[in-house]
C-alpha cells in the first residue's frame, strides 16, 4: 500500500514537471503548427539563466527566499528575449512551409542554440547554491508521506503546473485574446480574412511558449546540475507527452503528462528493467489505438 502511495506521489510530481515542460510545446504547435525542437534549448536556456541570476542574488548576500524571484525572472527573460528574437528573426520567414520543414528549422535552431549555450556558460555542470549551501530546492523544508520524505519544492512544481494549466485554460476560454487564439487555431486563413492579426498572435504565442519553456528550465535548475545537452534529453520526452495527449491540446498535454508520469513511477517501483522504454511503449500503444493522440480534433469532411 505504501509503495502504491509512493508511486502516486512520485508520479504526480514527475507529471507536473513534464506538464510544465510540455505545455509550451503543445501551445506553439496548436497555434503555429510548429513542433518546436528548439523548445529543449529554451528550456536549457531557462535553467542556465536561473543559475546565473540566482548566483548573482546569493553572492550579493540577499535573502535566500528571493532566489525564487530570480527563477521567475529567468523564465520571463528567456521568454521576452529569446522568444521574439527567434520568432521575428527566423520563424516568420518560414510560415506556410511544410510542417516537417518547420520541424527541421527548429532542429537547426536547436543545434545552433546548443553551441551558443556552450559558448556562454561552458561545459561544466552548474548548480544553484548559496554561500551556505542554500538552494531553492531545500529552502522550503520537507513533508512526509508513506514513510518517505519529500521536499516541499515538489509541491511548488505541482502548484505551478496546476496554475499554468488553469491560467491557460481560463485565458483561452474567457478572454478576448484567448478567443482570437482559438479562432487562429481553428482556421488561420479565415481568421486572417476576418481581420485578426495572425502575425501578432504568432508573435505573442511564441513568446509565451518560450516563456513556458523557460519556466520549465528555471524550475528544474535547482533540482539538477545544469549541463549542456540537458535540452536534448528533455525534448523527446516532451514530444512523447504531447503526442500521447494529442498535439496542440491543452487537456491532452495534462493527461499525457499524467500517464507518462504515473507509468514511469510505476515502472521504477515495480519493474525497473522496463523503465527505459516504458514511455515510448506507451506512446506507440496510444498512437496505434488513437492515431492522433487522446485529445484530437474531429476529422474534417473533405468532400
Amino acid at each position: 500500500m505504501s509503495q502504491f502511495i509512493a508511486v502516486l506521489v512520485d508520479g504526480i510530481v514527475y507529471s507536473s514537471w513534464l506538464f510544465i515542460i510540455a505545455v509550451g510545446l503543445t501551445l506553439i504547435y496548436g497555434v503555429m503548427k510548429i513542433l518546436n525542437i528548439a523548445h529543449g534549448s529554451l528550456y536549457a536556456l531557462g535553467a542556465f539563466t536561473s543559475v546565473t541570476l540566482c548566483g548573482l542574488w546569493f553572492n550579493a548576500g540577499l535573502p535566500p527566499m528571493g532566489s525564487y524571484l530570480m527563477l521567475l525572472l529567468s523564465a520571463i527573460l528567456v521568454g521576452l528575449v529569446a522568444g521574439p528574437v527567434i520568432e521575428r528573426g527566423l520563424l516568420r520567414f518560414m510560415y506556410g512551409k511544410d510542417e516537417v520543414v518547420l520541424v527541421l528549422v527548429t532542429y537547426a535552431l536547436f543545434l545552433i542554440l546548443e553551441d551558443l549555450i556552450k559558448l556562454i556558460w561552458g561545459v561544466d555542470p552548474l548548480f544553484i547554491t548559496g554561500p551556505g549551501g542554500e538552494s531553492p530546492y531545500s529552502l522550503l523544508g520537507n513533508f512526509e508521506v508513506a514513510g518517505l520524505t519529500y521536499p516541499n519544492y515538489n509541491l511548488v512544481l505541482i502548484a505551478v503546473a496546476v496554475a499554468t494549466g488553469g491560467a491557460l485554460a481560463w485565458a483561452l476560454a474567457k478572454t478576448r485574446s484567448g478567443k482570437l487564439l482559438l479562432a487562429v487555431i481553428h482556421d488561420r486563413e479565415v481568421s486572417a480574412a476576418l481581420g485578426i492579426n495572425v502575425g501578432r498572435i504568432y508573435f505573442v504565442t511564441f513568446t509565451i511558449g518560450a516563456m513556458l519553456a523557460g519556466v520549465g528550465g528555471a524550475l528544474t535548475a535547482p533540482t539538477v546540475s545544469v549541463v549542456t545537452g540537458m535540452g536534448a534529453e528533455v525534448i523527446v520526452l516532451a514530444f512523447a507527452v504531447v503526442v500521447i495527449g494529442g498535439l496542440g491540446s491543452l487537456p491532452g498535454a495534462a493527461l499525457g503528462a499524467l500517464i507518462v508520469g504515473l507509468v514511469r513511477a510505476a515502472a521504477v517501483h515495480y519493474l525497473p528493467e522496463v523503465e527505459l522504454f516504458s514511455i515510448y511503449f506507451v506512446m506507440a500503444v496510444v498512437l496505434i489505438l488513437r492515431p492522433k493522440g487522446l485529445f484530437s480534433g474531429a476529422e474534417v469532411r473533405k468532400i
Binding site: 513542433l35 527566423l90 520567414f93 518560414m94 512551409k97 510542417e99 516537417v100 520543414v101 520541424v103 527541421l104 528549422v105 532542429y107 537547426a108 535552431l109 536547436f110 543545434l111 545552433i112 546548443e114 553551441d115 551558443l116 556552450k118 559558448l119 536534448a232 523527446v236 514530444f239 512523447a240 503526442v243 498535439l247 528493467e273 527505459l276 522504454f277 515510448y280 511503449f281 506512446m283 506507440a284 498512437l287 496505434i288 492515431p291 492522433k292 473533405k302 468532400i303
Partner: protein, 311 residues
C-alpha cells in the same frame, strides 16, 4: 528495358567511382564510403518524401540492418559481406512489412512521431541487451565476399567497392521505379490521396510498399555502414541519427536519385571539416548550413542544378 540518360549517368558514376577508388587518397575513400552508406539510406528517405511522408525513425532500419549484419558475424560466424547485406534486406523487409501495416495509415507529424516511437523502443531493447554490448555495441568484421576470402590489405577497397556497387544498384533501381507509374503514383499521393483512392488505387498499399522499399534501403545502408565502420551500437537508432537522415534528405532535395548521394557527400564533408576546424562549434556550423539551405534553396541542393536548366 530502355535506359534513359539518368540511368546511364548512374551507371557511369558507379563505374567512375569504382575505377577512381584505388587512385584516391585513403581519407577520401573513407569519406566517399561513409557518404555512399548514408546516401543509400537517404535514397529511401527520398522515396518516402516523394509520397509526402517523412520518417523521424528511419534509424530503426539503419540499426536493424547493421545488427543483422553484425549478428551474422557475431553469432553465426558468417562474416561474408554479401550475406550480411542479404540478412539486412531480409530483416528490415520483414520488420517494415509488419510495422508498415500500422504506419501506412499515418501521415505528417503523426507518421514521424510513431516511427520515432518504434525506433526508440528498439533503442531501449538494445540498451537492455547486455549480451550485445548494450550502448557500447560490438565490432563487426567482414572477411569474405560471396565466399571468397579478401586479403586484409585489399579489404578497405573491397568494402568501398561494395558500397559503390550497392549504392549504384539502389540508385539505379530507385530511379527506374520512380520513372515508372509507381513514381508518378507517389507524387499523386503526395498531392491528393483522396483522388488516388477515387482512381481505384490503394493509397495504403502504395505507401506500405514504398515504406518497405525505403526500410530495405536503410537496412542496406546500415549493413554497409557496419562493415565500413567495423562497429555498431544502439546510437544508430537513437533519434538524432534519424534526425540526421531527415536533415540530409532535406539538404539534398528530392529532384533526382543523385541528390541523396551528392547530399550525403556534401553533408559528410561539411561535418568532417567542421569537426576538424571548429571542434567546439561544429553543431552550430551544421545548424547554420541547414538554415541557409532551407531559406535560400527550399528544393535542396539539387535545385542548384535544375535552376541552371531553367535559366
Amino acid at each position: 528495358m530502355k535506359l534513359d540518360r539518368t540511368s546511364f549517368a548512374i551507371l557511369a558514376m558507379g563505374a567512375i567511382l569504382l575505377i577512381a577508388g584505388p587512385q584516391l587518397p585513403s581519407w577520401m575513400v573513407s569519406m566517399l564510403n561513409v557518404s555512399l552508406c548514408y546516401g543509400t539510406v537517404v535514397l529511401g528517405m527520398m522515396l518516402l518524401m516523394r509520397n509526402g511522408i517523412v520518417s523521424f525513425g528511419h534509424g530503426l532500419y539503419f540499426c536493424l540492418g547493421a545488427y543483422a549484419a553484425g549478428l551474422l558475424d557475431q553469432m553465426l560466424k558468417m562474416p561474408d559481406m554479401l550475406l550480411m547485406v542479404g540478412a539486412a534486406v531480409v530483416v528490415t523487409g520483414v520488420v517494415s512489412a509488419i510495422l508498415g501495416l500500422l504506419l501506412a495509415k499515418y501521415r505528417d507529424i503523426f507518421f514521424a512521431m510513431l516511427s520515432l516511437a518504434f525506433s526508440m523502443i528498439l533503442y531501449g531493447l538494445l540498451v537492455k541487451t547486455a549480451s550485445l554490448g548494450s550502448t557500447d555495441g560490438f565490432n563487426v568484421a567482414a572477411k569474405t565476399v560471396g565466399g571468397f576470402a579478401v586479403a586484409p590489405e585489399s579489404q578497405r577497397l573491397m568494402v568501398y567497392s561494395l558500397a559503390v556497387v550497392f549504392a549504384t544498384v539502389s540508385a539505379f533501381f530507385l530511379h527506374s521505379y520512380l520513372a515508372s507509374h509507381q513514381g508518378r503514383l507517389a507524387g499523386a499521393i503526395k498531392d491528393n490521396e483522396l483522388r488516388v483512392e477515387y482512381m481505384g488505387a490503394s493509397v495504403m498499399r502504395v505507401v506500405h510498399r514504398n515504406y518497405v522499399i525505403s526500410a530495405v534501403l536503410a537496412g542496406i545502408g546500415g549493413a554497409l555502414m557496419a562493415v565500413n565502420i567495423g562497429h555498431i551500437d544502439p546510437e544508430m537508432t537513437y533519434w538524432p541519427q534519424s534526425g540526421e537522415f531527415v536533415f540530409v534528405a532535406i539538404l539534398s532535395g528530392t529532384g533526382s536519385v543523385f541528390a541523396p548521394l551528392g547530399g550525403a557527400l556534401v553533408f559528410e564533408a561539411i561535418r568532417s571539416f567542421a569537426y576538424e576546424y571548429s571542434p567546439n562549434t561544429w553543431q552550430m556550423v551544421l545548424g547554420i548550413t541547414m538554415l541557409l539551405v532551407m531559406i535560400f534553396l527550399p528544393g535542396g541542393l539539387w535545385s542548384l542544378f535544375t535552376r541552371k536548366r531553367e535559366g
